[in-house]
């Protein structure tokens, strides 16, 4: 933990208490309890269908939970639309399939939310956008369209797009899973840089174990809608406790 928010009333950026969720009859999240401190960097991993994406999608209420509580920056998430819109401006999210807006140029993708949600003047929003495009190392692509960029570039644009809103929390939903092998490292480099700057709470669903070892404060392993194990990266990889974790690690490292 290198940076802890001074706000002692709200020690946790994200707090999940006995979270349960069903898709129809399917119990997808079972009693999830998770506390993420301000500035903490969490990696969630697990086999597909384990509910790891659903967990982070509950944090900005892209998925609705049926039981339990989620607190973000001390405020409980309800279905209230105004509160949600406010919450989402503070929580950035990057998706597996980038979800850039294909009809808008890269620059317009980045300035859209600052202009329409934060009501920032266009010139200022564009300056901020260029600043973040430089940080993800593609300022020269500003006037192109998403369809003209490679997958790795698109994901970096997506990260920059979230950063333009100055979020306190960043959620990453398998950001490198849809990328060609050659492009994974360029996205991870950006994420590692972001993590090393500190100050921002990051929750990443990813299978990039190298990334987890390098930057995560904690690794959470999920299976069948449940948190199986939670530990520091070193302990998690060197000394996994549960059998399920051992099996998972042996399978992903075997190849």
């Amino acid at each position: 933990m290198n940076q802890t928010n001074k706000n002692t009333e709200q020690p946790y950026a994200i707090e999940m208490i006995n979270l349960n969720k069903w898709y129809g009859d399917f119990h997808v999240l079972k009693d999830i309890n998770l506390k993420v401190k301000h500035g903490e960097r969490i990696v969630i991993c697990g086999p597909s269908g384990s509910g790891k994406s659903t967990v982070i999608r509950c944090i900005n209420h892209l998925e609705e939970h049926q039981q339990g509580q989620i607190m973000v920056n001390g405020k409980e998430i309800t279905g209230d639309i105004k509160q949600l819109e406010q919450l989402r401006t503070d929580v950035g999210m990057c998706f597996q399939h980038f979800n850039l807006f294909p009809h808008l140029s890269i620059l317009d993708n980045l300035t859209l939310a600052p202009i329409w949600v934060r009501k920032i003047p266009k010139a200022e929003a564009e300056a901020t956008a260029m600043k973040y495009l430089k940080r993800v190392k593609i300022p020269d692509q500003a006037n192109k369209y998403p369809g003209q960029l490679s997958g790795g570039q698109q994901q970096r644009v997506a990260i920059a797009r979230s950063l333009c809103m100055n979020p306190k929390i960043m959620l990453f939903d398998e950001p490198t899973s849809a990328l060609d092998p050659e492009m994974i490292s360029e996205v991870l480099d950006v994420m590692i840089e972001l993590a090393n700057e500190g100050g921002m709470t990051m929750v990443c669903v990813t299978h990039e174990m190298g990334f987890a070892k390098q930057v995560a404060d904690r690794v959470i392993f999920m299976d069948a809608g449940q948190i199986i194990e939670e530990n520091t990266p070193t302990e998690f990889f060197d000394n996994p406790q549960s059998e399920r974790t051992q099996l998972f690690l042996s399978q992903i490292i075997a190849h």
């Binding site: 900005n60 892209l62 639309i81 819109e85 406010q86 989402r88 401006t89 929580v91 950035g92 999210m93 998706f95 399939h97 979800n99 850039l100 807006f101 294909p102 009809h103 859209l112 939310a113 329409w116 949600v117 369209y145 998403p146 369809g147 003209q148 797009r161 979230s162 809103m165």
Partner: protein, 369 residues
């Protein structure tokens, strides 16, 4: 083991795989059957085309003061008939000394619209909004009159191409936004909103337009007995708008369904409200996707305006068919009238079609979902 020692350069394609001759060889004369079919096709064109060209252009009478000059052996089409009755064809029973009013409205529309086709025009949104929202009222004041010392010309005097264009313009202008709202409503999570939209769409899509027009002119006055007898043209327009909006709604819904859920999620995840994410993210993409379907609907609407004849409004076709067709001074030129009307309709529909294709090209950003 093999390691390449040089990188191969890109070469131009072999020359016998392109060009006119190659195209003819592969498409028209590739096999004995194709050769026979091509020759038969050419023969058919040779038999049909020259007589048509003769009738339409070469032997046609372009100017004449009366029908006698058009008649006789070897005479082709009598376009003089159309030019003699041009006022009626364009404006119906609108008083000739007031033709300048619809003309002015038309010129105004053209002048306002031209800048919209140029990339660099500043404040295009405001100008576009002006054309769509303010202009119809200006045109109404001009054509209908009753204000600023303009004499009132009731809508039953309106007719011809002018009426066709007015009904289509207003129909498209109002049916599009209404259809979009209905499409969004049909996909809403709110059960009441959704049911209302479904019922509305299914009702209007399920009845014939003629029925709607009859109902609007025959039955509505029965419901609003006394005093509230509002304009026949307005009633017909409302009928057409409601009818077409149901079609537009289903076309737009098709586009909405083609947009991946991730687009909406990305939009709301940044804090955009439902309406902002719809208007900024989802609809621009969905509408672009359904341009062919929308234009299809608009072309159908344009041609469906001819049905207003059934309630006693005289659009272009009705003027040509029913008014000029029974004009005793010019009897016997029925075909010319119909060909002319068909040509005018085709011209407008073709223009819409070409415009939609250029719009698609312009909006293409190298991405398909």
């Amino acid at each position: 083991m093999y390691v390449t020692d040089h990188i191969l350069p890109a070469l131009p394609a072999p020359s016998d795989s392109k060009g006119v001759l190659h195209w003819l060889k592969t498409n028209l004369f590739s096999s004995p059957i194709n050769i026979v079919l091509t020759l038969l096709g050419l023969l058919l064109v040779y038999k049909i085309l020259p007589p048509i060209i003769d009738w339409v252009f070469i032997n046609a009478t372009w100017t004449a003061d009366n029908s006698a000059e058009c008649k006789g052996e070897e005479k082709g089409a009598c376009w003089a008939f159309i030019s003699n009755r041009f006022g009626q064809v364009m404006y119906g029973f609108y008083p000739p000394e007031q033709f300048w009013r619809p003309n002015l409205a038309g010129i105004l529309l053209i002048l306002l619209t031209i800048p919209l086709f140029f990339e660099k025009t500043p404040k295009k949104v405001i100008l576009g909004g002006f054309v769509l929202v303010v202009f119809p009222f200006i045109a109404f004041v001009l054509i209908h009159g009753g204000y600023f010392g303009l004499s009132t010309i009731e809508t039953d005097k309106w007719g011809g191409l002018m009426l066709t264009l007015i009904i289509s313009f207003v129909g498209i202008l109002c049916a599009l936004p209404l259809g979009i709202i209905l499409a969004l409503g049909r996909r809403s999570n709110m059960p009441i909103v959704k049911s209302i939209c479904v019922i509305f769409i299914e009702f209007w899509r399920g009845v014939p337009l003629i029925t709607v027009l009859f109902m609007s002119s025959v039955m509505l006055p029965l419901f609003f007995s006394g005093g509230t007898d509002f304009d026949k043209l307005a009633r017909a327009m409302i009928g057409i708008i409601l009818f077409q909006s149901a079609y537009v709604a289903e076309v737009v819904r098709g586009g909405l369904q083609a947009i991946p859920k991730g687009q909406y999620e990305a939009a709301v995840a940044m804090g955009l409200s439902y309406w902002k994410s719809m208007f900024l993210i989802i609809l621009p993409q969905a509408l672009k996707l359904v341009i062919p379907g929308l234009v299809n609907t608009f072309i159908a609407l344009f041609k469906d305006t001819t049905l207003v004849l059934t309630i006693g409004l005289f659009d272009l076709l009705a003027i040509v068919e029913n008014v000029l067709g029974s004009d005793s001074a010019w009897l016997g030129f029925h075909t010319e009238g119909l060909v002319f009307a068909a040509f005018v309709f085709w011209m407008f529909c073709f223009a819409m079609s070409r415009y939609s294709m250029s719009l698609e090209r312009k909006l293409h950003t190298g991405h398909t979902h």
